[in-house]
């Protein structure tokens, strides 16, 4: 028993080290890498947030939503429209964007959480597409497929380095909050639901309500990612709401490993940087991405981090004599 606790404490210390290194790297990045790679880094952070919020539903709760891009887009659009059409203050628009995403998730989620498995996935896909079509076709209100331009951050954030720090700050805070949620009693209940939903129900847990709460939280953080994105390149467009975009956090999470908190982050960083690098000399990116996914699915079940963890666990098991 004590050996186990010592093991856990050791792994915590190791993890703490990693975290410190990563955050330090994030802080000094703008002074070390070029402006272009800083942009990629910012993009990776935003998409990581997207993937993390997705994984709240997938890794923790065990459901596969395929319509998250709608909330991403709603966050961005909500903010963009308030900022440009109604001249609302940046910070208010930012928060409102998140609110809009969460509100729509509440309305949509009520129906989605009553389903499981593939039906849940398809219904989220259908709702996602419905929201996309509405935004795309309502061009008088949303600008249609022209999108909305002129989404400028406040003056002190206009500088790319400043905005990068803003993204980093929001990301770290959000990741921390999500971490706490996943490792709270609420989060553990979600995991229990994933393992065995019937049993959890017999324990008196209202499954649908918990799932709805998780759905809304996930949508809120996804909307936050969208709201971070809009001022990044100063515009939003309906194409960010298509179901193809919903597949991106899915791929990133599977690649990095759905079972670990940092999995989606690793997967997103890998994909974002490799994508940006490869676009420099080929436009056959999809086949590379597709092949990569297949390779990971076959050779690294549990993703990259899952694979590493399993290797380490096996090694530890070998090193430890069996406890009688």
């Amino acid at each position: 028993m004590e050996a186990n606790q010592m093991e856990q404490q050791k792994s915590w210390k190791k993890r703490a080290w990693w975290l410190i290194v990563l955050i330090a790297a994030g802080l000094i990045a703008p002074h070390v890498i070029s402006e272009f790679y800083l942009l990629i880094l910012g993009e990776a952070l935003i998409m990581s947030l997207f993937a993390l919020s997705f994984n709240l539903l997938f890794g923790t709760m065990g459901q596969l939503p395929f319509g998250q891009a709608a909330f991403y887009g709603l966050g961005g659009y909500g903010m963009a429209m308030l900022l440009t059409k109604f001249q609302v203050n940046f910070w208010l628009s930012f928060v409102a964007g998140i609110g809009i995403a969460a509100l729509v998730a509440l309305l949509v989620g009520i129906f989605c959480v009553r389903l499981r498995g593939i039906y849940f996935s398809i219904l989220t896909l259908a709702f996602g597409q419905l929201i996309f079509v509405i935004i795309y076709k309502w061009h008088d209100f949303t600008g249609g497929d022209d999108g909305i331009q002129g989404v400028f951050p406040p003056v002190f954030l206009k500088d790319p380095i400043a905005y990068y720090y803003f993204i980093l700050l929001v990301f770290c805070l959000s990741a921390f909050i999500l971490w706490r949620i996943i490792h709270s009693p609420f989060g553990y209940t979600l995991q229990a639901m994933r393992e065995n939903s019937e049993r959890t129900e017999f324990l008196g847990i209202p499954i649908a309500r918990y799932q709805l709460i998780a759905f809304v939280i996930s949508a809120a953080f996804t909307g936050l990612a969208g709201a971070l994105w809009a001022p990044f390149y100063r515009s939003v467009a309906p194409s960010t709401l298509m179901w193809i975009k919903s597949g991106e956090p899915v791929m990133a999470t599977i690649l990095g490993g759905a079972g670990l908190f940092f999995g989606p982050i690793l997967g997103t960083f890998l994909i974002t940087f490799v994508h940006a690098y490869l676009l420099g000399f080929t436009h056959f990116w999809p086949i590379i991405m597709g092949t990569l996914i297949l390779i990971v699915i076959f050779l690294l079940p549990g993703g990259i981090l899952g694979f590493i963890k399993e290797k380490r666990d096996n090694r530890n098991k070998q090193n430890q004599p069996s406890q009688g």
Binding site: L115, G117, I118, V133, P286, M289, I293, I297
Partner: protein, 293 residues
């Protein structure tokens, strides 16, 4: 609204429904037995269309050329389906359905680029084959004969699949496997090969419908994404894994789109998704589906 106008829209809805049924039936078949929702079904459809164009161009036999090309395409696509199932899907049955779903999603990406690589980005067209070049007259209205050909093919497929599933021993095995694959396996039926065969059949149907669509409209990149969403709507509404359901779903989607266009063209697409969502909310397994899983 006069009768002839309504009748015409109804007919065009039937033609669209027939086309949708041709494509979606393969998806439904695969899901019914293998329990895999093949995201890449639309990509196989697109690949079939491009392949049929190249074969047709290569053969250059007047009149019969198109039909021969369609048949050859169907067989090639069956072979490709076989390879996909054997090398990719088979290893994933033991894993969860999310991995299977993702593998088919990855296939979309791979097949799109394969098409891009071999055929470039050009849109292509095959002229309609004789004798389906003109129009027949129904109630004094012209109705393109090729649309008739598609409807006939749809009917033929319905008959073939019905015969296969309900009148052959293989069909008994398929239905049993759809119900309880472990039991069927315990009875000594080689389930892996059955699955391979079914997936190949599904791919064959996808390729066949792609080849048939080629003279109907244009062959272009993006036709995979365009069709797969409508296919999902069809199988969701009709019932995933149910062939009569797919037929009904296809007809419904065809009519909703056709009449939606007359009254509110911008919202026709939204209607489809709304119906899809409503069905999933009220009766998730579709009109003819079975509540299991």
């Amino acid at each position: 609204m006069s009768f002839d106008v309504l009748f015409n829209q109804f007919l065009s809805g039937i033609a669209r429904g027939a086309l949708l049924f041709l494509v979606a039936s393969g998806l439904s078949l695969t899901f019914g037995v293998l329990r895999v929702l093949n995201f890449a079904h639309g990509s196989l459809y697109m690949l079939g269309a491009f392949l049929s164009y190249s074969i047709w161009k290569w053969l250059l036999i007047p009149v019969v050329g198109f039909y021969v090309a369609t048949l050859l395409t169907a067989f090639i696509m069956a072979g490709i389906g076989l390879l996909i199932e054997y090398f990719i899907l088979r290893r994933l049955y033991a894993r969860g359905w999310p991995e299977q779903l993702l593998a088919t999603y990855a296939l979309i990406l791979i097949i799109t680029d394969i098409v891009k690589w071999f055929w470039g980005g050009e849109f292509l067209s095959i002229p309609r084959p004789k004798p389906f070049t003109g129009a027949v007259f129904l109630f004094g209205f012209p109705f393109p004969s090729y649309n008739f050909f598609i409807i006939l093919l749809g009917l033929a497929l319905v008959v073939f699949l019905w015969w296969l599933v309900y009148k052959t021993r293989l069909g008994d095995i398929i239905r049993a496997a759809a119900h309880d694959r472990d039991m069927v396996s315990a009875l000594g039926i080689p389930i892996p090969w059955l699955f391979t065969w079914i997936f190949a059949l599904g791919a064959m149907i996808a390729g066949l419908s792609g080849a048939v669509t080629a003279p109907y409209g244009a062959i272009a990149l993006g036709m995979d994404i365009e069709i797969i969403i409508e296919c999902f709507a069809v199988v969701v509404i009709g019932g995933m894994g149910s062939l009569p359901g797919t037929l009904l779903g296809a007809l419904i989607v065809g009519q909703v789109y056709s009449f939606g266009i007359m009254y509110k063209p911008e919202l026709a697409l939204a209607f489809i998704f709304m119906v899809m969502a409503i069905v999933l909310i009220i009766r998730p397994w579709g009109i003819f589906g079975r509540p299991e899983r």
